[in-house]
């Protein structure tokens, strides 16, 4: 049995107060808090081995390079990638998606081609395709979302017909919906399309296996999985990465540079121009250690339980006043609760909650097309992680009372 109370104590920020009350952090879909071990690992890196990587022959430069490459191997293991050199570090999921679009998309997409995405994508999996489509003239097709927050797959075969790529989120950052990635991968492959999985919200919460998913590409971001801001990554099969042109140009990504031109380094370094984020990689490594120590199955179990508790207690206390979007069955969703409270605007809900120390996000959550489909301009969103417990949910449920008090007509 995991001691979840002890887990919470590992996160120094959660000991602080805001507005004179203990902080209740319910915005982990946005970014997670960091355990002491991650913070310490990053300080230790700077205190003991900091040097530029892949360039020096002296002791600490070798150690720094090892530190970076060990984390690559750790990430590969954590997502069950077939090989370590298939993991490319980027600064976040957004950069990984842009790398994929610019490099693979730039080389493979043109007039007459199509890329399929869905209405529940984060802007990071929409805007890069809009940008590229404007340049290359391919078609962007959309899988729609049903009223209960699932992908509408009734016309999937039609959408995939002639498409070269399906790029889809594994878990919605607004609805918590878990999408049937293996089934989508199978469908994409049947149509000779590749599948890219935006696993930014998935990797932090559920044991991830890119091979079982059937994915060709997968992107993730470190700061949502207890790691620091400034590191994320792209995974893709080695053959695909080999075939892709470089993304950013500069040091590190080359083998040879002459006045006439250059040749590229091997994968994954071919895609990692310039000095990488070594301390952040070390922090990400410590975050993976922390999660593996808890066990991803335990993490998931904790979150399903807490999501169920949250859905029950919010509806029990607030009845018809609260509408929670997304799938109603906790086991079929992640711990992301987007809600609309009475007719109080989410911005005001978040303000009132902030006064009670409760941190939730209000707005469109970088998913404007989805909110348009849901027919709401904005929602408030409470999202859960390993350090949350029932008392956090109780605090959320109670603090919502004051929204009623202030704004009731």
């Amino acid at each position: 049995m995991t001691d979840w109370a002890a887990v919470k104590k590992d996160f120094p920020l959660l000991r602080r107060q805001v507005h004179g009350t203990p902080i209740v952090y319910l915005d982990s879909s946005n970014t997670s808090q960091k355990p002491q071990s991650v913070i310490d690992a990053m300080s230790a890196y700077y205190e003991t081995v900091n040097a530029n990587v892949h360039r020096g022959s002296y002791e600490i430069a070798v150690k720094a390079t090892e530190a970076l490459e060990q984390v690559r191997a750790k990430v590969a293991r954590f997502i069950n990638a077939p090989a370590t050199n298939e993991v490319v570090f980027t600064k976040n999921a957004t950069e990984a998606m842009n790398l994929l679009a610019r490099s693979w998309g730039g080389a493979n997409l043109g007039p007459g081609d199509a890329v399929v995405i869905s209405e529940m994508e984060h802007h990071a999996n929409i805007v890069p395709w809009h940008m590229l489509a404007a340049e290359k003239g391919f078609e962007l097709r959309w899988i729609s979302v049903t009223a209960d927050g699932h992908l509408d797959l009734s016309d999937l075969d039609q959408l995939l017909d002639g498409a070269k790529l399906l790029s889809i989120t594994a878990m919605s950052n607004v609805l918590g919906t878990l999408n049937p990635v293996p089934r989508l991968a199978e469908a994409a492959h049947r149509h000779d399309a590749l599948i890219a999985v935006d696993a930014s919200q998935y990797v932090p919460h559920i044991a991830t296996d890119v091979q079982a998913m059937g994915a060709d590409f997968m992107v993730f971001t470190g700061h949502k999985m207890l790691g620091p801001m400034g590191i994320g990554g792209l995974w893709a099969h080695a053959e695909i990465l080999e075939s892709m042109p470089p993304f950013l140009g500069g040091g590190e990504m080359i083998l040879q540079v002459t006045k006439e031109g250059f040749t590229t380094n091997e994968i994954p370094w071919k895609f990692e121009a310039g000095t990488p984020m070594v301390a952040e990689a070390v922090g990400l490594g410590a975050a993976i250690d922390y999660l593996e120590n808890l066990g991803m199955d335990e993490v998931r179990r904790h979150e399903v339980e807490l999501t169920g508790y949250a859905m029950r207690s919010l509806t029990e206390r607030h009845g018809d006043k609260i509408t929670i979007h997304g799938p109603s069955e906790p086991a079929e969703r992640g711990g992301v609760l987007s809600f609309v409270y009475d007719d109080v605007h989410p911005h005001d809900v978040a303000q009132v909650l902030d006064q009670a120390g409760v941190c939730v996000r209000a707005g469109h959550h970088c998913a404007k097309p989805l909110l348009r489909t849901l027919g709401v301009p904005a929602t408030s969103r409470a999202s859960l992680y390993v350090y949350n417990d029932e008392s956090d949910i109780d605090c959320l449920a109670e603090s919502l009372d004051s929204a009623s008090d202030i704004f009731s007509l």
Binding site: H19, G20, H345, P346, H347, D348, Q351, V352, Q355, A362, G363, H364, K368, L371, P377, A378, S402, I406, F407, L409
Partner: protein
């Protein structure tokens, strides 16, 4: 520490619950401008009907948003109706002055003296009810909510009566 009562004054809630001049105007003769707050998704539509004497004969407000953006728009519509375009422009300056108090505090004397010499220091401008929004400056993220309708009004004025 600022409390919620600094933000949600009774008069603000009143304008939020019963917004003034809500609706649309025919364009033309009216002009229409739209403003967005990309951060929270608030949208404001401002319609103004300006006559040959540069008087704002009618104003209407559309769109959706939080209590601060909605009440600010409502109060603004009440304040500019019947005013001349140049009076409305001065009011925009004065309101922005009210909203920059926070920056003034952060930047110390420089911004403070800016404010004294800026158009918003015009002693003839009376903000009236709008003063109730002063509390917003203690909640910096909400300043954009409060100024959304005013920026949109500036756009509409620019179209109705180019400077």
């Amino acid at each position: 520490m600022p409390g919620l009562e600094d933000l949600y004054r009774e008069i603000i809630l009143d304008h939020y619950r019963s917004p003034r001049n809500r609706g649309e105007l025919d364009t033309p003769p009216a002009v229409r401008a739209e403003g967005f707050n990309p951060l929270c998704g608030d949208e404001i539509v401002v319609y103004i009907d300006v006559d040959d004497n540069s008087i704002i004969n009618d104003v209407a407000i559309g769109g959706q948003g939080c209590s601060i953006s909605q009440s600010s728009a409502s109060m603004m519509s009440a304040a500019i109706k019947g005013k001349t375009v140049s009076e409305a422009r001065k009011l925009i300056g004065a309101f922005k002055g009210l909203m920059s108090i926070h920056e003034g505090e952060l930047d110390g004397d420089a911004a403070e003296s800016d404010r004294d010499h800026g158009p918003e220091a015009d002693p003839d401008i009376r903000l009236g009810d709008l003063e109730a929004l002063k509390g917003v400056v203690k909640f910096p993220v909400r300043i954009k909510c409060a100024t959304l309708s005013w920026n949109t009004l500036a756009q509409a004025l620019g179209e109705a009566s180019p400077v």
